[in-house]
Symmetry: C2
Subunit: 578 residues, 2 copies
């Protein structure tokens, strides 16, 4: 803040000059005493000046809140914007009306595709939007050595951006095995953040005991991979803040609320991690976490703290997270603490959303250096042929949780060349086609219990390397699907009988689009319906969600990368034949 | 932390290599879940690695805690080391056995005398001692324009030290009137801290309403001048952390505990502010705040949090304040949560105090550029003569609270030259003799209800400018007292019938001595006894404490500086005659 702005703010707070805006007749949520009080809020230069008194002259503008609640804007403490499929500007349009005013984003998806160009795109594209976006430097690009991503972010690359004022620190250390092991290159990255006293995010599902101690000892400040109340308390014991997550796939709030009490809630924050456009449309963002927690019995003002001041404290964001003098005027208005529906959102003292409508005039940024990253080489039906030494094979078996698969076994048929052919089992072919460096890699496997019949689909969203995933019951359709995907620069394609049935472009790195969120949600819904009706994918499965994670070799049990089948428990590639 | 140290810490935490030290059979105080659990603590390189398990090999050293409690070391969130009369090394010797492992000190006393030389002395003298000392850049040197201090610390001088890694920010903004007014030079200082995102300490007794909002809007993070529960909650509402103080003079804990509850305690921390050597000897430090709070009904683990993690959070000290992996091994051992007596203290994994004995081998620093600051010019009995235009005069009237005086009135006698002469009223002369710049200033006034008869005393501790204060019932003894004080380089002198009865040297800036704390406490006790027995000062008064504050023009009601009598309520100098 400039000195001049500060002087003005002090003068307004003291009542010497009029405020820019006064919110009158508020029920102000005080996160410090954790109570509500009736009062007015005076705002100047985008910051809260104070609560005024009877002697104050009228502000330049006055808004009668009519006794509704005013709370600090919500903070999403960990999110991958790319998982919404939306550009930062469109993401802002979707979450701000739900009361989210600040996010701490980890852009490892786009960095996996485009490296620092991807990071810079996210920085630039979030510079002049209403939503306040902080970015962590991704620590796991690539996620593992068992796949080809589009870039490598080493300690050197991280060092080139770590000092940026909108960078809070190092992104989630997903390689928790390597971190607890004190691996050298991970330590180098950690030291880059520690040297300038920035935050280190964590990711350590199920870690306990000495390995959890080791993980905490590295300096990790928080974790969002808690699924049980016991795990929450165990991690808090290590001084690791717990980010209580409600994503599209990963839904932890109801499991964790029982472990949160008056004594430890201050170290618990809400996050969304990954929420697709339709989840944002239908259910919301941090407000959704809030409502779920309160419905499970959490005190509403405790839930407010978890959505605001707790995150500000964890990340050292001293200028927000509370309705208090000197803080940013990032505020939300609502009338029911128990079933909280955000009616209005202010960011920096500007009304940016009202009754679901987004009012901000954001500056959109054309994606530069992050478009059309489809560098596929030497791909054809020939590359999909699956030569088998035996008939007993590993299958990737679908699991109710989208990010997880089981390692299955099957006896399959082979043709005269010992290549796999379809029979009447619910088994289809899956392939990961490398698309960043043009290596020509194609990893081929078999997917069981997916249901697909009579076609193929392809997509370029496949955590974390985001190579092309294609699934089909015949090689020809798979090739058509992949070729169309390359042609459109990435997204989703659906093919039947050699023809493209439908597709959606994700022109930003093959991961996101700049189209409006409601359009994306609608189109995704249409594609899901098409995949179920025309390709016969089982109706109790989201056709695309599991495929998003099927190339993610850090979540069990059997996965596939461009380098082949991967056994997560053994943490190495394996042959398809048993 | 070096990468090598971090690697080792991670290896120890995971159990791959032996720890330096294991504290076995602890009742570990977990400040995150606010509970106690039984376990062991493994320490390496001065940091906590973790809690181990049955597979761990023996550490290089093991200490059996035998079921006693291990908690994080205490943090004093606001203290003036100079008020103890002790050098930093001696101060460390006194407070560390009481469990204090970190202090955030504001050296405005010595800076008022010696400017940045004083600051540098405090930095150097606290570099190689067990106690971890952070220093704030004093914001109020001089405290007001109504006195001559030894230096001026403007925004420029503050800027020259603000980036030091042991500087957390800007010291208490005592000029709360000027701050709420947005005064330009105060804003300049504030901007120095804000530019590098450092903390700004506050001091705003009794401030409420819009002026408190204005004060908070400036960016002040905390305040230690709360005396009522209502005031505590009112300041918390503004996002101003409340530092709950128990000093020698200012004792707020019992008044404030009723305002602290489960909802707001996280923003409350303990501090001592000013504690003299004998207070440290007799009662302790932050452990004293703790015991008082618990005796008043506070939950012990809540009080632990106020002594540890809350301060770490307020000041962004992420490496301490908890017993958790990666934190400094600053620990205390005790066996009773309700009547907490610290038995052992570790700092950086080293045992530095045991059963009251200080075990650390500190490197003492010879005071350089801060010695013998007694630049008195043109002082004599003539300068003490008090010419009165009338017989009706203002008197500075003693008050039960040492820092406070009342504005009194009296009819006094004058001699043939219209100068004041003693009569049988309990009124004596008081003078402030400027000693930094040799201005020759002498401010003369009358002190009522002090009791002194038959002598004089002088001291060079007089908040905040620390000019010489002398009180006496005859000018000759006052001059002898002052001259002796100048001769010894500062401290305290007591004079009767023209002879020096006793004195104590404060060779460091006239404020502190490098002698051991117990010696200082004993000598101060002897001087207090002497002042009461030989000079007849009222026994219910501490002879020196009120004089420490009588030149402090920011605490009501009628004070005196080297420039004359000062009315605090009107905030200006006034004539002695009414």
């Amino acid at each position: 803040m400039e000195k001049r702005t500060l002087k003005r703010l002090i003068d307004v707070a003291a009542g010497r000059i009029p405020a820019d805006l006064c919110l009158k007749n508020c029920k102000v949520v005080d996160v410090y005493n954790r109570q509500v009080f009736s009062g007015d809020i005076y705002i100047a230069g985008g910051f809260i000046a104070g609560f005024g008194d009877d002697t104050f002259v009228d502000a330049l503008a006055t808004y009668d809140v009519k006794g509704k609640y005013i709370a600090p804007g919500f903070i999403d403490s960990h999110v991958h914007i790319e998982s919404s499929h939306l550009s930062p500007a469109e993401f802002s349009r979707k979450v701000v009306p739900h009361g989210v005013t600040t996010v701490i984003a980890d852009p490892h998806e786009i960095c996996n595709v485009c490296g620092l160009d991807g990071f810079d795109y996210m920085l630039n594209a979030s510079e002049n939007i209403a939503l306040q976006v902080f970015l962590q430097l991704p620590s796991c690009v690539p996620a593992t050595p068992f796949e080809n991503a589009g870039a490598i972010l080493g300690a050197k690359e991280i060092g080139e951006r770590i000092a940026n004022e909108r960078v809070l620190g190092l992104g989630e250390l997903m390689n928790f095995v390597g971190t607890s092991n004190g691996d050298n290159d991970i330590l180098d990255k950690i030291m880059v953040a520690r040297k300038i006293n920035k935050i280190i995010d964590g990711h350590c599902p199920g870690l306990t005991g000495p390995l959890l101690d080791a993980y905490g000892a590295s300096g990790v400040a928080n974790d969002h991979e808690c699924t049980t109340a016991e795990e929450l308390r165990d991690k808090l014991r290590r001084g690791i803040y717990v980010l209580v997550r409600q994503g599209t796939g990963c839904q932890d709030v109801l499991n964790l609320v029982p472990g949160i009490d008056e004594k430890n809630y201050r170290f618990c924050l809400f996050c969304t991690d990954d929420r697709q456009a339709w989840s944002l449309e239908k259910e919301g963002s941090i407000d959704n976490n809030y409502r779920l927690a309160v419905s499970a019995g959490m005190d509403p003002l405790m839930a407010i703290c978890m959505s605001t001041i707790n995150a500000a404290e964890c990340f050292g964001l001293r200028d927000r997270g509370a309705v208090a003098p000197g803080k940013r005027a990032d505020l939300i208005m609502f009338d029911d603490l128990n079933n909280l529906k955000v009616e209005s959102t202010w960011i920096g003292g500007r009304l940016v959303a009202k009754e679901g409508a987004y009012l901000a005039k954001d500056k959109k940024v054309k994606p530069v250096a992050v478009e059309g990253k489809m560098n596929v080489n030497n791909f054809s039906e020939e590359r999909l042929r699956l030569h088998l030494k035996s008939e007993r094979v590993r299958t990737i078996r679908m699991h109710p949780i989208a990010a997880v698969t089981m390692a299955g076994e099957a006896h399959v048929k082979r043709d005269a060349d010992s290549c796999w052919v379809r029979d009447n089992q619910d088994i289809v072919k899956i392939a990961v086609v490398e698309r960043h460096k043009g290596t020509g890699n194609v990893g081929v496997g078999l997917l069981e219990n997916y249901g697909l019949k009579g076609g193929a689909l392809a997509m370029s969203i496949a955590h974390d390397s985001h190579n092309i995933i294609t699934v089909g019951d015949n090689d020809r359709d798979m090739v058509v699907a992949v070729n169309k995907l390359v042609e459109i620069g990435g997204g989703i394609t659906i093919v039947k009988d050699g023809k493209v049935l439908d597709y959606m472009e994700h022109e930003i790195a093959g991961l996101m689009t700049d189209k409006p969120g409601e359009y994306v949600a609608e189109r995704l819904y249409e594609l899901v319906t098409l995949a179920r009706t025309k390709l016969n994918i089982h109706k109790d499965i989201n056709p695309f969600m599991p495929l998003c994670f099927i190339a993610l070799p850090v979540i069990p049990e059997l996965k596939i990368t461009d380098m082949g089948l991967f056994d997560v428990n053994q943490f190495c590639h394996v042959d398809i034949c048993l």
